[in-house]
């Protein structure tokens, strides 16, 4: 009997155990930032402890950027959001009014403390000789990319290809559409998120080339062991600016504005920038940029504003139901 009580107590203790911290923050982020924010969160907690003598625990939630934004809209109490693209935060501002519409102006560099771009990951020795976007449309080349309808990274992929095609065909939209359509004809699997695609390509051995976030491509080299894959940098690509923002309604309700602001500021600090560079994100600060310059190949980058006139327009034209992406998959077109 005594044993049974003891076992019961142990079980209760196990079930009710929870890390109690003085302050907690919830950072709702997208898929490929897991490793980045693991490091950032620990470093920020150390810094906050040192300066404010207060223990802070940053809780993390990761998933497809769209799914994460949807959760915040539906009431997931995120103090800060660090998503793959500004559009997803725009949606939070518009649909749930949790932060002002001009949120992007509140922090430097379009509220994107680090940037990235889209590159190709190919198998060792580049057997299909993939050099640039053109090669992805060739028959017999199998391309892995996630579904732009659900994955933020995939939207960057798609727009990067579109931007290249516009340049190539002298801004001919119809030809660009044909180009992107023939690229997607080479796609055998559309995962719902960037991480799913990398797994499909690297672990399941599907496809000849993975179109991926630069940081995820580097991480894949690291995780799956060197000598299995190579990174190929296309002639032009898109400047991907993953944005961060404070969710005003939540921080005001929870009384965490100060620490949330400090958290985002930390991302812009030299220490935060260094962590970003170490995790294969392109830092903004000159010092960190110089330090990691060798790591990142030079690419001609265009921005979404230059080519597409901003996210809202790009989203509406390309990814909304019935948009260009849907038309590509329409039978007989």
């Amino acid at each position: 009997m005594k044993n049974r009580i003891r076992a019961l107590l142990a079980l209760t203790a196990f079930l009710t155990a929870a890390a109690q911290a003085d302050v907690t923050l919830l950072n709702v982020s997208y898929d490929p930032t897991r490793e980045l924010y693991q490091e950032v969160n620990a470093a920020f907690a150390r810094q906050w402890q040192a300066t404010n003598k207060e223990k802070v625990t940053v809780r993390a939630s990761h998933g497809g950027s769209g799914r994460q934004a949807r959760s915040v809209i539906d009431g997931l109490e995120a103090d800060v959001v660090t998503l793959a693209l500004a559009y997803d935060i725009d949606e939070i501002a518009e649909k749930a009014k949790l932060l002002p519409a001009d949120w992007q102006k509140r922090l430097p560099n379009n509220s994107a403390p680090y940037t990235s771009t889209i590159v190709f990951l190919v198998r060792k020795g580049n057997p299909k000789n993939v050099r640039d976007w053109d090669d992805l449309t060739k028959p017999g080349v199998s391309v892995i990319t996630p579904n732009p309808k659900t994955s933020g990274g995939a939207r960057w992929n798609y727009l990067a290809a579109w931007g290249y095609a516009l340049k190539k065909f002298g801004n001919d939209e119809a030809k660009a559409k044909g180009f992107v359509a023939s690229l997607f004809r080479n796609v055998p699997v559309l995962d719902s998120g960037a991480r799913g695609s990398t797994t499909t390509f690297a672990e399941r051995g599907q496809g000849d080339v993975l179109v991926a976030w630069e940081n995820d491509a580097f991480l894949a080299l690291k995780e799956f062991g060197p000598g299995k894959f190579e990174i190929v940098v296309p002639s032009v690509s898109i400047l991907a600016e993953p944005s961060v923002a404070i969710v005003d309604r939540v921080v005001d309700k929870r009384g965490t504005r100060k620490v949330a602001q400090a958290y985002l500021d930390f991302l812009y600090s030299e220490e935060g920038q260094d962590i970003a560079g170490r995790n294969f994100y392109r830092p903004r600060s000159q010092k960190a940029s110089a330090k990691y310059a060798k790591q990142f190949p030079r690419v001609n980058l265009f921005t979404i504003d230059q080519i597409f006139g901003g996210w809202t327009k790009a989203q509406k034209t390309h990814f909304a139901d019935g948009g260009v992406f849907d038309q590509i998959y329409q039978p007989g077109k």
Binding site: F14, L15, R59, S71, D74, G75, L76, R195, T199, A202
Partner: protein, 316 residues
Amino acid sequence: MESKTLHPAGLTADMTTIELMAEPLRAGGWLVSEAYAPPARRPRTRGAPPLVRRLLIASAVAYFALVVLTPLVAVFYEAFRKGAEFYLASLSEPDALAAVRLTLILALIAVPLNLVFGVAAAWAIAKFEFRGKSLLVSLIDLPFAVSPVIAGLIYVLMFGLQGWLGPWLSAHGIKVIFALPGLALATIFVTVPFVARELIPLMESQGKDEEEAALVLGASGWQTFRRVTLPNIKWGLVYGAILCNARAMGEFGAVSVVSGHIRGETNTMPLQVEILYNEYNFVAAFAVASLLALLALVTLVVKTIVEARTHEVSAR
């Protein structure tokens, strides 16, 4: 009131012919859940010629091995690919432990609630006639056929910030979705039918003569239920709870929609599997998956024991 004066369970001596005839069909009942008895008779060796027989056995076992066995073996193989040490390390990681904890809590909430519901529903349905009974039975079955994704979606539409009750809940600081209550609701939803579905045919086949006799002899309603009904349905209850538990712990689609995926907080074991998988941590993903597979195996062992017990009792 001595309950031993009554037949303990299963086939009662005064069971009508109709009930006996309906017996095999009750088995046509539903689901895996039907507690069938292991064959008491000596399996027949006559009938099909030996060659045909062997061929039948071989093809059945081959199909079984291909469909059921290989995925199971694959889970354990992948989990131990980097050795037992790595396996144990993956399982003792704090986030994995938190996921185990959350999954246990959810099962501890969902199973008892559905047990109470199952008994109440079976009591009303099996022991009484009323209008709309077949519709009620169908409604109880409904969560079985509803896509888990829809099960998650409905709670988002109810309790989400953009849903019916969301603004009110948020104003009062009550969290439902992206917290324990929402996960519990989604888990309860997908496991609603299992206990009730187990008990209804069992209680129907037992009829109500025993309870009526007890009442006539002066037992109170509660006494009758505790001393007569409960012992009769004991194994059915256990069986239903096992199935309910297995499904509660393994649910993925429904909880995925309402979880919010906060590390170490709102990730259940199946969600943790997905997360580890998305972190290229395949061995750890399969390690957590193997715990769930182990749970499935334990479930099946307990189920087999319960079946044997049920058979023993009903054969007496």
